[in-house]
């Protein structure tokens, strides 16, 4: 598609002759943001068309926000979650001059600086607002939520981890937004049964509700059971909910499709069985880490969901081969099953499970230590559609099993072989899976450049590669990867300590790279970092912890080139105050910095650096010794901007 556009663009006048509408249609079909950008730069006509047609906008910096909002009047989706140092004043100012009548969806996740004034302005400016995401705005409370509640047309709202929200705020929302269909209250620990009760009385349209980590009890489930359209209910780690609550829930209308009771300690199979009695169209059942033993009634009830159940998670449950067989016979349509950390999972059990469940696509067998190649053989034989296979810590499997999988499951997109002791031969087989997107090989120390060369040559779609502690990997592997897997976004090279600057030089050609972990690569220096910073323009997260040879030169390169960097770990690096100051004052998107044990940085250095960036930082990790020597007003200022500081309790050491 992008080539096509390029050709049109090359015509120049031809494109200009097309109407804005048509150009807009063309642009709508361009998926990749990078390609759209190319179009925009090709001709004015496209730029105009995009201005008129652009629906979604993700803003990374505060400064251009006002201009952008004026440029794109047709916006429907506005994502401000990554907008650095956004606060009430700047948001209100940006909204004031723009026509935002079309905006339906706003994401303000982690926008800690935005308070009720900003939200007030937003809701006033966007009358058609339907979806608001306030997740992880830890400072948000009732006042903020009340401001959002003024958006009467709201359909979806996420208040995840808005720690200050109480029943009062919830009441504001449920009264103000009666059309609410989807609501997440995860981690809003102040909300109680009373609030949930009001919610279920006032929002009859609710389809999806998340009450995870709340301190609500069975009474809430009684109220929730009156919601006739509820399809999705998540109650992760609700320790006040038990079987009685589930029984109350089962008395409601038979509408639930997805239930998540994972980590709710007091739920047993008995309760789940009664829940299934009442809701027999369940599609997804997540009972991870809450069940301890299997009940017969639950098994027989699971069979009632034969037609519908597609996702089943039983992590941490004690299962025997017979149980797995029963599940396999009962639930033929399973697409996803998770048995991670289940004791008693054997080859026999897996083969009897997969014998009937040929539709399985996702199989999680993490930490099922008893499994051997036989299990992989039976999976390969029965589940040709498998896309995701998690085998972490299944230490008895070998390249033979991997070979079977690679041969029989051409659709494999994700495989986790962390700590499985596979070798280069296994990678050679895996290379047959050309669709592979995610490959995790952590702790497989026998993997070498040779194996990775196979992967690089065939798995061109790879976006995530984990080589944690693959100590035999050298620069050559990186060269091969950089050649073959251009799409890699996430790369973990921690403790691969043979890697040097020249290896990083190869990484520089991975333009898509967003997350890079280089922990404890003691040989890399500022030169290597420079080439990464220059080449990987999209770098968002960089971990340089214990890279002892990194000095100011590396930081200066980052400061100059890694303009999108959002998370940075430079603990133990040999940087000085000057480098730190420069880094923090230059990088506009930087929000999360871990800088523990920077023993070459003086107190003034910290002080200056933090002052330079205090409007932008949202998370900091520092030595607790600094707490007393940094100026109180600086700490106050950081706090005022919504920055959370994690103090590491270790002694403060200086070097000169």
């Amino acid at each position: 598609m992008s080539e096509e556009v390029q050709r049109y663009g090359g015509g120049g006048g031809g494109v200009g002759a097309l109407s804005l509408d048509l150009l807009g249609q063309v642009l709508d079909r361009v998926r990749e943001p990078r390609d759209r950008k190319a179009c925009r730069l090709v001709s004015r006509a496209f730029a105009r068309a995009e201005a008129a047609h652009r629906r979604a906008l993700r803003v990374l910096r505060r400064e251009p926000l006002a201009r952008l909002l004026r440029t794109f009047p047709a916006l429907e989706r506005l994502d401000l979650s990554a907008c650095a140092s956004l606060d009430d004043a700047s948001l209100a100012a940006a909204l004031a001059g723009a026509d935002l009548a079309g905006i339906r969806r706003v994401c303000l996740a982690r926008a800690n600086g935005v308070g009720w004034r900003g939200l007030d302005a937003l809701v006033t400016a966007c009358p058609k607002l339907e979806v608001v995401d306030l997740s992880h705005c830890v400072g948000a409370g009732d006042r903020e939520v009340a401001a959002v509640a003024a958006a009467t047309g709201l359909r979806e709202l996420s208040l995840e981890k808005c720690l200050g929200v109480t029943d009062m705020g919830l009441a504001k929302v449920v009264v103000g937004c009666p059309k609410l269909e989807k609501l997440s209250l995860k981690w809003c620990r102040e909300i109680s049964d009373i609030g949930i009760d009001l919610l279920s009385k006032k929002c009859p349209e609710l389809r999806s509700l998340d009450i995870s980590y709340l301190k609500v009890g069975n009474e809430s489930l009684r109220s929730i059971s009156s919601l006739e359209k509820l399809e999705e209910l998540a109650m992760v780690c609700c320790s006040c909910i038990d079987d009685d609550g589930l029984e109350l829930l089962s008395k409601g209308s038979n509408s639930l499709q997805s239930v998540d009771v994972s980590r709710s300690d007091h739920v047993t199979t008995q309760g789940l069985a009664s829940l299934i009695d009442g809701h027999n169209f369940l599609q997804k059942l997540n009972a991870a880490d809450c069940l301890h033993e299997m009940g017969q009634r639950f098994l027989t009830n699971l069979a009632k969901l034969k037609e519908t159940l597609t996702v089943l998670r039983l992590d941490g449950l004690e299962v025997s081969a017979s149980v797995l067989q029963a599940i396999g016979e009962g639930c033929n349509n399973l697409v996803e099953i998770s048995l991670s950390k289940c004791n008693g999972v054997t080859d026999e059990g897996i083969s009897s499970l997969v014998a009937r469940c040929s539709h399985l696509r996702v199989i999680d067998l993490t930490c099922c230590h008893l499994l051997t190649d036989n299990a992989l053989d039976s999976i390969a034989e029965n589940c040709k559609m498998v896309e995701c296979l998690r085998l972490e810590s299944c230490s008895s499997i070998s390249e033979k099993g991997v070979e079977q999988i690679a041969i029989c499951c051409p659709n494999l997109k994700e495989i986790d072989l962390t700590d499985c002791r596979v070798n280069d031969a296994a990678l050679q087989h895996l290379a047959k899976c050309s669709e592979l997107l995610i490959l995790k090989l952590g702790l497989c120390s026998s993997i070498s450049d040779k194996g990775l060369a196979f992967i690089s040559s065939n798995c061109g779609k790879l976006i995530e590669l984990d080589l944690y502690r693959c100590t035999s990997v050298t620069d050559d592997a990186l060269a091969a990867l950089a050649n073959g897997c251009k799409k890699i976004k996430m790369l973990n090279l921690c403790y691969c300590n043979k890697i040097t600057d020249s290896g990083l030089g190869h990484l520089g050609s991975l333009e898509e790279l967003t997350n890079l972990e280089l922990r404890c690569l003691v040989r890399i220096t500022g030169i290597g970092i420079s080439s990464v910073a220059i080449g990987c323009k999209n770098l968002i997260e960089l971990d340089l912890k214990r890279c002892y040879s990194i000095d100011d030169a590396g930081l200066w390169a980052l400061a100059r080139y890694a303009l999108n960097l959002r998370q940075l770990t430079i603990s133990y690096c040999q940087v000085t105050g000057l480098g730190l100051c420069h880094l923090l004052s230059s990088l506009r998107c930087l929000q999360d910095v871990k800088m523990v044990h920077l023993s070459w940085v003086s107190i003034e250095g910290f002080e200056m650096a933090l002052r330079a960036a205090c409007g932008r930082l949202k998370k900091l990790k520092m030595l607790s010794g600094l707490k007393s020597v940094l100026s109180p007003e600086l700490l106050q200022l950081l706090q005022a901007f919504g920055c959370r500081i994690r103090w590491v309790n270790k002694p403060l050491v200086y070097k000169d």
Partner: protein, 507 residues
Amino acid sequence: MEGGLRRISETSFKALPSMSCNSTRNNDPDQQGGRFNSMDQSCFSRPDQSFPAFSPLFGVQSSSLYLPDEKIGNQFEPNSSLNNPAVDWDPQTMLTNLSFLEQKIKQVKDIVQSMSSRESQVAGGCSEVQAKQQLVTADLTCIIIQLISTAGSLLPSMKNPLLSSNPAVRHLSNTLGSPMGFGFSCNQQPSTNNEATIPEITKTPDYEELMNSLNTTTPDESDEPMKCQNPCGGEGSEPIPMEDHDVKESDDGGEGENLPPGSYVVLQLDKEEILAPHTHFCLICGKGFKRDANLRMHMRGHGDEYKTPAALAKPSKDSSSEPAPVTRYSCPYVGCKRNKEHKKFQPLKTILCVKNHYKRSHCDKSYTCSRCNTKKFSVIADLKTHEKHCGRDKWLCSCGTTFSRKDKLFGHVALFQGHTPALPMDDVKVTGALDQPQDSEAMNAVGSIGYNFPGSSSDDIPNLDMKMADDARYFSSLSFDPCFGGLDDFTRPGFDISENPFSFMPS
């Protein structure tokens, strides 16, 4: 029994208050002139005058624990004639009464004189004048009562029908009714009444009736003659139902307890004792304590003799004597329902109840809630309880209705379309303080220190673009000079830049 509490034990039968005042006055006639000010002192400053509580004879004299005491200034002298209704009137007593009357009249005269002279001088002092007026009224009432009782003391020597058929006395009692009522509403009442000779005549029902009509009665007053008239009931041991005992109206400590009068001992503490922060005092250094145990601990410091196990042990109740009688407490405030002379007297259970009751009902409410600034309390615990809920328990709906409980509010909100809970205004302030003022304050702090990094303040939006990272200046260390040059401006307690910064280094 010598618990340091000054006890006045008397029968509820006693119609008129404050024996001790009375005795004081009679013994120290010279104090009468200055009584207006020293009255309280005369009551409270002489603990040595307190009655020796419960002489052994006390329990023997009658089965009733109510002790009728009949003599003025004659504290519980074991006297066989005390309870004898047939005792003749004593000329000596009569003389004392008359001299008291004389003094009283002189005293009232003094007050009125001082008032008239004061009025001519100062126009102000309205409240003082009022107080004096009340005092005069009270004194006059007292005189009248004294007069009647003195006259009444003659009655036993006459035939009962004589008085009852004597319309003059009845008329007198009727006319006296109203001033008495007024007098009793006055605070000074306890000291102004004199019941000195009443006991001697109270055994006659006619006199009872008279006193009842004088509005000075207590329920027990009418009980007593019933006891007397009831030959078959062992007096006192037979519970006599209190007719209009209001059980519902029980506050601090009453708890609707319905002890029959006579089955318990009534103790009355003085106002000062109630209000005293400490009740146990060290005899050596005078330090006060709230608890006896603390005093005992304290005493150890005064010498080894206080360190013996015996000295440190909890003083045990005399197990040899008869079991301690049930004690209940009376409020010293006359006219109060908790005062033993009230018609519907309801005793207080414990000393703590007395303290709380007295502070709540008869003291200034000196503790004001710092949140709402309207609610006042005289007991600090009440304030604390209120402060826990103040502001918070005002669950307010957008329609203006308030609720004491959140679930009630939510029930209301659920019921009515469009109603929403109103967020308390405190919260607005709190969040406001978090968002803006602090920001701007902090912002100012930055400004004043003189560092302006790009993006470090919110109003620099236009300036931000000029400091792009492509700017080569950033790679010269010189460009940092402006930043670090101002370092001396740092002024921060405990952190002086001129010091060696590495002096913070541990070891």
